[in-house]
């Protein structure tokens, strides 16, 4: 039982990170119907920017760790969002209105470019982040096993919940969110109502990248190491999460992320760590076969 609880906590933490990345996939898919394959690498860039920001914050001699993390969070979100914006501006906008596969190929190109860009600038070796937060809360103890919720996990879960709430508010309550939903349904009509479609799409990329930045920071805090290749697997898992939840659906992305996180945690806890990715991707295959629209997705209706 204690072991189960521990894996549950681990899975939720992992799932929160996947969910944050998955939202970026799902929002971009919703608005332009394209999988942004460079999104995982934007997450990786976020992790690197976080580590650099931590190093810079250290040099200022800031002593308070919560304040340092908050500062790094803001800086990381801003810079990563700028990357997200640039990716859209350079690789996707010029291809809008071109044939469907073109932006997909340029997305893959962008992904390879970003990986190599970071490898060149930061080197291929892993970058460590010294553990900043130690300790945690022991929830229960028994059978010689203590269930621990450590502070990093707590921060990850709390920040994720807050961000999800904020994003839901933006999408459902603000003019920007309404414009995004309008562009999702009919871009031509949205423009006719005076909505700047290009800007709305840009802002969608910016929002997705900002969330990926948070995920990057959390990843760095949680695992303590990053390298230029982490975006690939994390991106693929988050993409799986988005498809599992129903691509285009915001709550779906979060739910999918949490499910993938739990599957991974329980699989590694009870079966084998080596095959945890197999478990996650088998789920993708099964979902695509039995429920192609995902758990919360809505069935695609052909326009007549």
């Amino acid at each position: 039982m204690e072991y189960f609880l521990q894996q549950l906590i681990n899975g939720l933490t992992l799932g929160a990170i996947y969910g944050l990345i998955a939202i970026g996939y799902t929002m971009v898919y919703g608005i332009i119907g394209m999988i942004n394959f460079a999104h995982g690498d934007v997450f990786m860039i976020g992790a690197f920017i976080a580590i650099i920001a931590f190093a810079l914050v250290w040099t200022t001699g800031l002593a308070s760790i919560p304040l340092a993390i908050l500062l790094v969070l803001v800086v990381t979100m801003i810079f990563t969002a700028a990357y997200g914006w640039a990716v859209e501006r350079i690789a996707y906008r010029p291809l809008r209105g071109s044939f469907r596969l073109a932006p997909l190929i340029s997305a893959i190109g962008m992904s390879i470019f970003l990986q190599n860009y970071v490898q060149l600038l930061q080197g291929a070796r892993i970058k460590p982040l010294p553990p900043l937060i130690s300790g945690g809360v022991i929830l229960t103890e028994g059978n010689g096993f203590a269930v621990q919720l450590n502070y990093t996990q707590m921060i990850i879960i709390v920040v994720t919940v807050l961000l999800m709430a904020a994003f839901t508010l933006v999408i459902t309550r603000t003019a920007l969110g309404r414009a995004q939903r309008a562009c999702e349904q009919d871009r031509g009509m949205a423009a006719l109502l005076g909505i700047d479609v290009d800007r709305t799409i840009s802002l969608t990329f910016v929002m997705g990248a900002a969330l990926a930045a948070v995920a990057g920071l959390m990843f760095a805090l949680y695992y303590g190491v990053v390298d230029f290749f982490i975006g690939f697997l994390a991106g693929l898992k988050a993409f799986t999460a988005a498809v599992l939840g129903g691509i285009g659906s915001l709550p779906g992305a979060m739910l999918g992320g949490i499910l993938i996180g739990l599957i991974e945690a329980f699989w590694s806890g009870y079966f084998s760590v080596e095959y945890k990715d197999v478990a996650a991707f088998s789920i993708l295959v099964l979902v695509l076969i039995f429920r192609p629209t995902g758990l919360l997705g809505r069935p695609e209706v052909e326009k007549v």
Binding site: A166, L169, V170, R173, T174, A175, L176, R178, A179, R181, A182, Q185, D186, G188, M189, A190, A191, L192, L193, G194, I195, D196, V197
Partner: protein, 279 residues
């Protein structure tokens, strides 16, 4: 009577096909201008040029109102609504089907809300200026809901509305952009006679009370003859007649275009009646 919209030498070619051929006409503010013509005459193409869906091959489309003069063919898509203040509805209805009726009307007021919300950030923190702007937006939406008799359906998903209500909602949404020119593509299509009579009143009110210029594509001759101040007739992309409705309906060229070339044959009386004349 000043010209709100001036179309000069508009030509639209698709490969070898000339859909609109050297068309010139004007539409005045506070008037209903109807564009009529047989199927394939190029009416919707004119609308698509006006609203930025097509870039005209040749021609100039000038829109002048208090806020300035705009060349529609050079404006970016969203500026046609935002700056030139042209609104449009579609022959095949294009509502945001998965939004509520009220949301459809509020999304049409996007630019005002975006400005008031300080591009979202202020809005998120509940700044009073945004709260006020949003209240105004809801008020305008309620106003148009009332005028289109949709108040009771405000919280429905737009896609679930009955057909006639969807048509009215499209007009309400277009009016919520606060246009100076309203382009309606067959607003009476599929409406029953009672609904179509209501539509006439609505359009007349939009002209007289709101002072909006209306550009109307319509097949239903009773609508055209009753409410339009000015009729432009197209055939094969060319203008074949232009004038007040009484003059146009007796124009031999128009009758020929609608009924084909058959010399020395009396028109059946019901068709003459349909065109609004006396047999």
């Amino acid at each position: 009577m000043t010209a709100l919209l001036t179309v000069e030498h508009l030509t639209m070619r698709f490969g070898g096909l000339t859909a609109v051929d050297d068309l010139s006409f004007t539409a005045a503010a506070r008037e209903i201008t109807a564009i009529i013509g047989p199927n394939g005459a190029g009416k919707t193409t004119v609308f698509n040029c006006l609203t930025g869906f097509y870039k005209p091959t040749v021609g100039r489309l000038t829109l002048a109102h208090d806020g300035g003069t705009y060349l529609l063919e050079q404006l970016d898509g969203h500026c046609i609504a935002k700056d030139a203040k042209v609104a449009r509805t579609f022959q095949n209805i294009r509502l945001f089907a998965r939004m509520t009726v009220l949301e459809n009307l509020i999304v049409a007021q996007h630019n005002r809300l975006m400005r008031a919300s300080g591009y979202t950030l202020l809005g998120l923190f509940g700044h009073p200026r945004y709260a006020r702007a949003e209240k105004e937006a809801v008020e305008l939406a309620r106003h148009w809901l009332e005028r289109t008799r949709l108040t009771d359906l405000a919280d429905w998903e737009a896609g679930n509305l009955p057909y006639g209500a969807q048509r009215r909602l499209e007009i309400a949404r277009a009016m919520c952009t606060r246009p100076t020119l309203l382009c309606l593509d067959e607003p009476a299509a599929g409406l029953n006679p009672r609904e179509s009579g209501e539509l006439n009143h609505l359009l007349q009110a939009i002209r007289d009370e709101d002072g909006v210029g209306v550009l109307l594509i319509e097949h239903d001759m009773s609508v055209v003859m009753q409410i339009s101040d000015h009729v432009v007739v197209l055939d094969y992309g060319r203008r074949i007649a232009d004038g007040p409705p009484e003059a146009v309906r007796n124009d031999p060229a128009v009758i020929r275009a609608y009924l084909g070339e058959e010399e020395d044959e009396e028109l059946p009386p019901e068709i003459v009646a349909d065109l609004g004349g006396t047999p």
